[in-house]
């Protein structure tokens, strides 16, 4: 079944050159929007009296550890590790937005699903804190995954049965999750007995191992190893991307998801259970987001704190999914970009004196240019696209057009 449907999605293999052109054309819009954002951002810095080159040098150094000024003494390895810590949850929440997008669903609730995963991970990690890691670690990760799936499954069921719009329901469930976290750790059952708005730490067995041991005596790249906080959640995030790509392009479920996204009516006519597909899509999306939340607790924070009141990972994920055109490779690159912007903003402010709010401006400009889609000229024939291909008219349409294409792996 899986093999046959995959074949159904396959078109006669195009030549290598035209494939390369198409890939270039596909990435032209996201790349163009990033370039556009940086140009306008640089203009804003210059107009407000700053030096855009110093600003972007700070961003590059802080985000990717390259082009660091010799006078400020940034440690490139430290910056790269910070960027990795920041982009790891974006990989999974990005999938949580992109997968429903393929089915024509807007999952704005990745944040709520992430929080549900964090809460479940924390509760299990505290309740069973004495269990050894081989048992407890899978428990907290699975618990978080399950909680996220349930949190997204509710809007999925509501959409499939009574047609409640998933945008509204997922947004509302974000608020429910945020206030649930607030209740739990401010005067609620999870608050640790010290008056601060935080839970107790999870057990040692519930924590994801770091790549480098937190040993004060071990010096790596001139700094104690403990400052590099990269944890094994990165591997889980990368595995999630592979699973996402396989699910979407190599399974019958992935075919059904894409078919429903293109035209629910045609999909139904073709014998696909649309309601079931919607529910399953949302369950899987929520599972990825919940896993991201569990990984944040198990890998970085080790307890539920008030920082989760105003966490924005699930909202950044929407931009990541859009910028990454809903593909696994795209999500990877978009996540790295957003993680690097996040980490770079601080260094830019410390070294160049440019407010790190510039990062938010850049992110908004990227989203703006994708949403307004005025860069679609980049996809016109001049860029090597076949003239017969219709230019997409909206970001959603752009994704759907992507969805209609053959999987990237099959073109070469």
């Amino acid at each position: 079944m899986a093999a046959s449907t995959a074949t159904m999605g396959r078109r006669p293999g195009p030549r290598l050159a035209s494939a390369a052109r198409r890939v270039a054309g596909g990435f032209a819009v996201p790349l163009g929007s990033v370039v556009f954002a940086f140009l306008v951002g640089g203009l804003i810095v210059a107009v407000t009296g700053g030096n855009p080159f110093a600003a972007y040098q700070g961003l590059l150094c802080g985000g990717l550890g390259i082009a660091c000024s010799t006078t400020t003494g940034e440690n490139p390895a430290l910056q790269i590790s910070t960027t990795i810590v920041f982009f790891t949850p974006l990989l999974m929440t990005g999938i949580a937005v992109a997968l429903p997008f393929r089915a024509g669903l807007f999952n704005i609730g990745a944040e709520g699903q992430l929080l549900a995963g964090s809460v479940a991970c924390t509760i299990i990690g505290i309740k069973f804190s004495n269990l050894p890691a081989p048992i407890l670690l899978p428990m907290v990760l699975l618990g978080g995954t399950l909680a996220g799936a349930i949190w997204a499954g509710v809007p999925g069921v509501l959409k499939a049965t009574i047609g409640a719009h998933e945008v509204v329901t997922t947004i509302m469930l974000n608020y429910v999750a945020q206030w649930l976290v607030r209740y739990l750790i401010v005067g609620g059952p999870l608050q640790a007995a010290n008056g601060f708005s935080a839970s107790s730490p999870i057990g040692a067995g519930a924590r994801l191992p770091l790549f480098l041991p937190n040993d004060p005596g071990l010096i790596i790249f001139g700094l104690p190893a403990g400052v590099y906080r990269v944890h094994t959640g990165l591997l889980i995030g990368l595995a999630a991307l592979v699973i996402f790509a396989i699910l979407l392009w190599r399974t019958s479920l992935g075919y059904e998801i894409r078919a429903v996204g293109q035209s629910p009516k045609a999909a139904r006519y073709g014998g696909i259970n649309v309601a079931r597909t919607i529910i399953v899509t949302m369950l899987i999306a929520g599972a990825f987001s919940g896993l991201a939340g569990a990984i944040q607790i198990a890998g970085v924070d080790h307890n539920l704190t008030d920082k989760y009141f105003n966490d924005t990972t699930g909202f950044d994920a929407i931009a990541v999914a859009l910028l990454g055109l809903g593909s696994a490779v795209g999500i990877l690159f978009a996540s790295i970009l957003f993680g690097a912007l996040h980490a770079g903003g601080s260094v830019m402010q410390a070294d160049a004196g440019i407010s790190s709010s510039l990062v938010q401006i850049l992110q908004a400009l990227i989203l703006f240019s994708i949403a307004a889609n005025f860069l679609r000229v980049l996809r016109l024939p001049a860029f090597g696209r076949r003239p017969s291909a219709p230019a997409p008219t909206a970001p959603a349409a752009a994704l759907m057009t992507e969805a209609a294409k053959a999987p990237p792996g099959e073109t070469t």
Binding site: G187, N194, P216
Partner: protein
């Protein structure tokens, strides 16, 4: 022959000058101290702690040879990386603003034992908020009861002289959560008000929240219904609801932490934690080589706590009484209690 000798002399003199020039630059150059300030998620424009910390840093920059760099934290995720970034660059002092950063300061100060840290209103703690007592961490605490006493005395005097809006010898305080810093404020407030107006009734309520103004508004409304006409908010962002409720009911209110004059016209005074003084002092200590771990407490005695008169013209006799009280607290003849008096 003479010509070439001249040449040699010329070369020698040039070489000598070069040597002298080098000697000049390799002398003991004054050290520029590098100070890193990390704000909490409130950002620099919070009109409160972060802003005041930056004011202290700017003042230090004009007074000492100091390079001051600021980073605003956009989320709780940023605390550890931002502190680590400054520490990894061997800054002479890394300042964290606010107790939200306690665990982050505890973690990073352990990784960089040779870098000095200071934290406003907190300590370097583990995940359970136990003070790790790292010798390179200085806690900058405040005697909130000093500031509370000043506004409490003002409230008591206004009630005693019948100069409040609806004088009935009843005032009140709205606390966020019943934790030590909040109760210190209320303790000083009640102590001083009772001292100035012995028959006064001080109502105390808690909203159990620091962020939602609606919750504090509820508590304030109940207190106003019980005839309170001067309300002291000790609940951060939640407490803005107290100021609004007082304004709508036509009674007085008192702000907290920073000068809240502009928050509502009903604000007659604010109890102040002078975070700028604390930040400046911490930097000064580093520059003078006097930095040491442990707690540094700011009070009226070292001008680290105080009050501001806001939307009110204070009668001369009341002002004189306030000045007298302040002098006595400063001299140590009167000491506001840390625990709320019965």
């Amino acid at each position: 022959m003479a010509h070439s000798r001249l040449k040699v002399l010329g070369l020698a003199s040039v070489a000598f000058m070069l040597l002298a020039a080098c000697g000049g630059t390799s002398g003991p150059a004054a050290k520029v101290y590098k100070i890193g300030l990390v704000t909490d998620i409130g950002g620099l424009n919070d009109k409160s702690f972060n802003h005041l910390a930056d004011v202290g840093l700017e003042k230090a920059k004009t007074d000492f040879k100091v390079q001051g760099d600021v980073v605003e934290s956009k989320s709780g995720d940023d605390y550890v990386p931002n502190l680590t970034n400054f520490a990894s660059k061997k800054y002479d002092l890394v300042i964290g603003v606010g107790f939200l950063m306690q665990t982050a300061v505890g973690t990073v100060s352990g990784q960089f034992p040779t870098v000095n840290f200071a934290i406003i209103d907190g300590a370097g703690t583990d995940a359970n908020f136990n003070d790790l007592k790292h010798p390179n961490v200085q806690s900058l605490f405040f005697k909130e009861q000093d500031a509370g006493a000043m506004v409490g005395a003002l409230a008591g005097l206004l009630e005693k002289q019948g100069k409040s809006k609806k004088p009935a010898h009843v005032i009140s305080a709205v606390g966020g959560i019943s934790i030590p810093p909040v109760n210190h404020y209320i303790a000083g407030y009640k102590w001083a008000a009772t001292m100035e107006d012995p028959g006064i009734k001080v109502l105390i309520g808690y909203s159990n929240d620091f962020t939602d103004p609606a919750k504090c508004k509820n508590v304030a409304a109940n207190q106003i219904a019980s005839k309170a006409d001067i309300l002291f908010q000790v609940a951060g962002g939640c407490g803005l609801g107290v100021l609004q409720a007082a304004g709508q009911a036509g009674v007085y209110s008192v702000g907290v932490d920073a000068d809240q004059k502009d928050a509502d016209p009903s604000v007659i005074a604010s109890a102040l934690k002078k975070v700028d003084v604390a930040t400046y002092t911490a930097i000064q200590n580093v520059v003078n080589g006097k930095f040491q771990g442990g707690a540094l407490t700011f009070s009226i005695a070292n001008d680290g706590a105080g009050y501001a008169i806001d939307n009110l013209t204070v009668p001369a006799d009341i002002q004189a009484a306030l000045d007298d009280l302040k002098a006595k607290i400063k001299a140590g003849t009167l000491t506001p209690p840390a625990d709320i008096p019965a």
